[in-house]
Symmetry: C2
Subunit: 215 residues, 2 copies
DNA sequence: GTCTATACGTCGATAGAC
DNA sequence: GTCTATCGACGTATAGAC
């Protein structure tokens, strides 16, 4: 068959699109393989299981995004050792938008996959990301912590997870929210606009001074 | 059989516990009915489907929490018409903790169910909550909006959804986060401590002044 | 090595007897 | 209301063809 890429890539391409559109649990292997025009069993041959296919789909993006994001953060901190929290978060915008060159709708797809992945999977994806990309995450966490030195480590732990929740939930439902915002407020937002909206929210929350325990 | 409540309640009690512990998709109807010691088909007889069972489990809490939360917000705004955002959010703490009187571990269970529910279900629970409890939600949204009058409605829409993401994600993974915080920082947090940690984060994010579009 | 046909166990759901 | 039996769809595993 002409113009037929190899089975593994065909599965990844079909799975990526369907996962981003419909979520993981709502996308069956039978749907993926029929859309990719490959046999059902080939998923297990090439990837072992559905969970590993999900990880492989995400890895195609993370392998590009994580090093690029790390480079950008290192660069901004070399220019300005006292970079603000907003500056640290904003540093991620360019690497995110660059994913559109990797694949059509790359940024949106990646953020939806990441959001859905963190949300739908209990642990296996969290584990995958922290073990495979832990060095990049640490670099980011350290940059944030040093930009808000008045927040003790234990408190910063919580605030970074609050931040993760905001990002993950927002990106998983970005399509729906954008549609509602358009209908209710006549406001058109692309994925970059949503990213730029969330950054000040996150910066403010992460860096807000601790309230006194005793009043 | 002595001390055997009716089938419907037995199903709800078993389902609530299992859903909160393991999540919805990881909890099969067969597990619920065997633990509740009722027949598998009785779930569909009494509730129609698994989705409707999920809604019924949440409704038992929402029917108590929503009116109590609304009363608390009305009360605090009568005392102080210019109540701060922190005050509005803090108003919800007492109604949440009161759920411990409704059922053992009620607060934790409710927040886990709410978090998991919003996260695992795409739309059907969002729809259920907004249609059945919309009046209470509006009251809360209005109170927040009036406590941050410098934020335009369209921007407030986004920030409230960022907030929803933080809450939902944090509460769905509160158990795991509490364990990590204990292991890494020797910090013991109950559900109230987590709630009180998240409020300043949310207030700061919701009320942060808009950044200039043009620099 | 790659791919395919086929089957296994579990799932939510349902029809029909009692 | 409650039960048994069964359905189609699911993820997964494997024997065997190319």
């Amino acid at each position: 068959m002409a113009n037929r890429s190899d089975t593994k890539t065909r599965i990844l391409d079909a799975a990526e699109k369907l996962f981003a559109e419909r979520g993981f649990s709502e996308t069956s292997l039978r749907l993926i393989t029929s859309k990719a025009e490959v046999n059902l069993a080939s998923v297990n041959y090439h990837f072992g299981s559905k969970k590993e296919l999900i990880r492989a789909v995400l890895a195609r993006y993370l392998d590009v995004f994580m090093p690029a994001a790390a480079d950008a953060i290192v660069a901004v901190r070399q220019e300005n050792a006292n970079a603000s929290l907003d500056a640290i978060f904003s540093t991620l915008v360019a690497p995110l938008l660059d994913l559109n060159q990797l694949r059509a709708e790359g940024t949106t797809t990646f953020l939806q996959l990441l959001g859905r992945g963190y949300i739908e999977s209990q642990g296996h994806l969290r584990w995958f990301i922290t073990t495979h990309y832990g060095e990049y995450l640490s670099l980011f966490v350290n940059a944030v912590a040093e930009s808000a030195p008045h927040i003790p480590p234990a408190e910063m732990f919580w605030r970074l997870h609050f931040t993760l929740g905001t990002v993950v939930f927002t990106m998983a439902s970005a399509d729906a929210l954008t549609e509602i915002a358009e209908a209710d407020f006549g406001e058109h937002n692309d994925i970059e606009a949503v990213i730029r909206k969330v950054i000040p929210y996150l910066s403010a929350g992460v860096s807000v001074p601790l309230t006194k325990d005793v009043i």
